[in-house]
């Protein structure tokens, strides 16, 4: 109401000014006065396994949240595209598994848990590294192998860590028992925290995942197992790898839900539901996020030998997570094209600055080579490539 009065009084004050100024004033007055503060959106119902009820089929989104989700997802999108560019320029080398297309998963999960909760994922990890709090410049500098990288250039794409974020793991499936172990620690310490443990459709057939399911269920660990099903394990489609593609049911005795992973609100509601379930001491839960990656498996995979360009294009036009959010916000007057464009420009600057940093930051010093072998130990000697080279290692 207050804002409406300001708007009206502005218009009357400027009534005699030139048409252009008046129009401009009205537009900028709109940018903070006229937007819908929040709206409720119907979301796709989740398929349920061994659950009587699932998450709500309606999600409340405030303008603030919408802008935050948009900003985060767009940042991840732009960051991954920048990584693609740097890789093609050979400034990034080795493994680089890009996350563009799957942003709603990382954002939705982060929106539904607390910063004090825990998360672990596999190698397609840049998006989660960002949502768990690492700056874009530290991520890109890690990819370019510089000393300003989040792991000082010693980890690379698949080995980035942060508080309550346990990477980034290179061995397919190994992160799942690790995540169950983090959940065990949460239970042991009685801190009411949960661990989100992610794996892909390719990893879903790993034996150690079923071993983790068993122990998590036996001991009622507060572990949310999440399968990010992007339809392909490297170049192998789910139909060719899995006798059962109902990944949300693979936990068998563990309840599961299947979620639209392209809708950030769907993901958020589902993870809230799952986290409540775990915190109530009911044990683990399995979630399948149906999602899609635009890039191939990694930068060495064009991604079109095992799927069609048409399929990729179709997802981009009909199902893109960022476009979906944008459309929701615009059509409900929760933001404007101009405001979102502003945000895009800000993000572009952040990414450009980060890329500049990642290119210009020096590589790690050779003194770093042998450090971090052991923690909290006195300095020791490490053999070099030949017996006369004795290198120093500090913790």
């Amino acid at each position: 109401m207050q804002n409406m009065l300001t708007l009206i009084s502005n218009v009357f004050r400027l009534g005699n000014a030139s048409k252009n100024v008046g129009t401009r004033m009205v537009v900028s007055a709109r940018s903070f006065a006229d937007f819908t503060p929040q709206a409720s959106f119907p979301i796709k119902k989740c398929d349920l396994h061994r659950l009587e009820e699932g998450p709500s089929d309606e999600a409340l989104l405030t303008r603030e949240q919408g802008l935050q989700y948009y900003r985060t997802m767009q940042t991840v999108r732009r960051m991954e595209l920048k990584a693609d560019q740097l890789y093609k320029q050979k400034i990034i080398r080795g493994f680089c598994h890009l996350y563009d297309g799957q942003e709603a998963c990382a954002m939705g999960i982060e929106a539904g848990i607390n910063p004090t909760d825990h998360l672990i994922t596999a190698y397609r990890a840049h998006g989660y590294t960002f949502t768990r709090g690492v700056a874009v410049r530290e991520i890109l500098a890690e990819l370019t192998g510089r000393r300003g990288g989040v792991a000082k250039g010693k980890g690379g794409s698949m080995h980035m860590y942060a508080k309550n974020f346990y990477g980034g793991n290179g061995i397919v499936g190994a992160q799942v028992p690790l995540g169950a172990g983090v959940a065990l620690a949460c239970q042991y310490q009685g801190n009411n925290q949960v661990c989100v443990t992610l794996y892909g459709d390719g990893a879903a057939n790993q034996g150690q995942i079923f071993e983790s399911f068993n122990m998590a269920a036996l001991w009622k660990l507060p572990c949310i197992f999440i399968c990010e099903n992007n339809k392909f394990g490297m170049g192998t489609s789910v139909e060719r790898s899995s006798a059962s593609t109902d990944y949300y049911k693979r936990g068998d005795y563990i309840p599961g839900l299947k979620v639209d992973g392209m809708d950030v609100l769907c993901v958020r509601e589902a993870i809230r539901f799952a986290a409540d379930y775990c915190r109530a001491g009911k044990g683990p839960i399995v979630m399948e996020l149906e999602t899609y990656r635009y890039h191939g498996h990694s930068m060495s995979d064009p991604g079109v030998s095992y799927r069609t360009r048409e399929e990729i294009q179709e997802v981009r036009t009909k199902n893109d997570p960022i476009s979906m959010l944008k459309e929701r916000m615009l059509s409900n007057n929760m933001s404007s094209v101009e405001e979102l464009k502003e945000i895009d420009l800000e993000i572009r600057k952040v990414i450009e600055d980060a890329a500049q940093y990642a290119i210009s930051d020096p590589e790690p010093s050779l003194d770093e080579l042998c450090n971090h072998i052991y923690a909290r130990d006195p300095p020791m000697e490490v053999r070099g490539t030949n017996p006369w080279v004795k290198l120093k290692s500090v913790s």
Binding site: G153, A180, G181, Q208, L218, W219, Y374
Partner: protein, 359 residues
């Protein structure tokens, strides 16, 4: 008050000083403790000392341990801290490592180290390498322990020695105790260490008693990881060994002493990091070296020791090439006569010493 302050400041090194002052009037009250009980008491004391420490593995709780090493611990500490796992090594080893990531201090028991091969990815890729990959951000304070090497009549799949396999990998500490003092002091050190430690026990040593002094029975008695011990002084030849074979070396040394050959016996205690300095000092004194181990010869612990001696100052002091006594290069057979001839015996050590000394 001043002594208390200086004690607290200097930490565990000061323990023996304090004890000497307190107990110098009384005669040391030594006790006979077998290796099993030494391990049990070490775990008990560390569980009591730090509530983040817990034990998990197959049969560790209600069964009291497959080899009874964890006897009584479940009764005392309960389900939360002594956890029976299903027979899923890869899963529970990974869970243990994850718990270590998140701030606990797990002891993960493998019923024997042979079964660790199911989980070796978690030991190497998830535990050993993480501190380095994270550039010092993520510590992994975990102990993996269990019986290693040959037993009696358990045949090929249950008799392998993994000292060389794990000793190969940077980021791990690998420890191989021989007697009760080693078992107690090294296990305490391993549990208190903030790094992943592979703790290689020996099933045949579990029931063997050794004398432990009062100092060794103190609850803060730790043996530094990475330091070998000279168990017997000698002048003519150095015998370097680990685990059960240390005992064989001492027995061989006793026999050889009657013939005027004085062997210096070095107990490695730690496989990685290897205490090359102690070995070199011994070889520079005696001029001759024989390594003794239960594992296979190729790419083994003895091979590493010989290579290091070649590359270092001690080479110039060698009067003869260094030689290895090892297990026979075959999968372990079952029949007793075959098994007995698959592992180094005292006569093999004596034979090798005489060959090296050209006797």
């Amino acid at each position: 008050m001043a002594s208390l302050r200086s004690f607290l400041r200097s930490g565990k090194n000061a323990v023996s000083v304090v004890l000497r002052r307190e107990f110098s009037e009384t005669s040391p009250a030594a006790v006979q403790v077998n290796v099993r009980d030494a391990l049990n008491q070490a775990m008990d004391e560390e569980l009591e000392r730090d509530e983040r420490v817990f034990l998990l593995g197959e049969e560790v709780a209600q069964y009291d341990g497959a080899y009874k090493v964890s006897r009584g611990l479940w009764k005392k500490y309960g389900d939360k801290r002594i956890i029976d796992t299903p027979i899923t090594e890869m899963g529970f080893a990974g869970i243990a490592v994850g718990a270590a990531f998140a701030g606990l201090r797990p002891i993960c028991e493998f019923m024997t180290w042979n079964f660790s091969m199911q989980a070796i990815d978690q030991v190497i890729n998830s535990a050993a390498k993480t501190y380095y990959m994270s550039a010092g951000f993520q510590t992994v304070p975990i102990v993996f322990r269990g019986p290693n090497g040959s037993s009696a009549g358990v045949a090929a799949q249950h008799s392998q020695c993994f000292a060389a396999w794990y000793g190969h990998c940077p980021g791990l500490k690998v420890v191989s105790p021989w007697n009760s003092e080693d078992a107690r002091g090294l296990l305490k050190a391993a549990i208190r260490d903030d790094n992943p430690v592979v703790f290689l026990e020996n099933e045949m040593m579990y029931g063997v008693p050794f004398e432990l002094s009062e100092e060794m029975m103190h609850k803060d008695f730790v043996i530094p990881i990475g330091k070998a011990k000279v168990e017997r002084q000698g002048t003519h030849i150095t015998l370097v060994s680990h685990s059960r074979c240390v005992g064989f070396c001492l027995d061989a040394a006793a026999v050889l002493a009657k013939e005027g050959v004085e062997c210096e016996v070095v107990n490695l205690r730690t496989i990685r990091p290897l205490d090359v300095d102690t070995i070199e000092a011994s070889v520079m004194k005696t001029g001759n070296l024989v390594t003794v181990e239960g594992g296979w010869p190729q790419y083994g612990v003895g091979a590493e020791i010989c290579a290091r001696i070649m590359e270092g100052p001690a080479f110039n002091y060698l009067d003869a090439p260094a030689v290895r006594v090892t297990g026979v290069d075959i999968p372990m057979p079952y029949a007793k006569i075959l098994e007995d001839h698959s592992v180094p015996q005292i006569k093999d050590i004596i034979f090798s010493v005489k060959k090296v000394l050209n006797m």
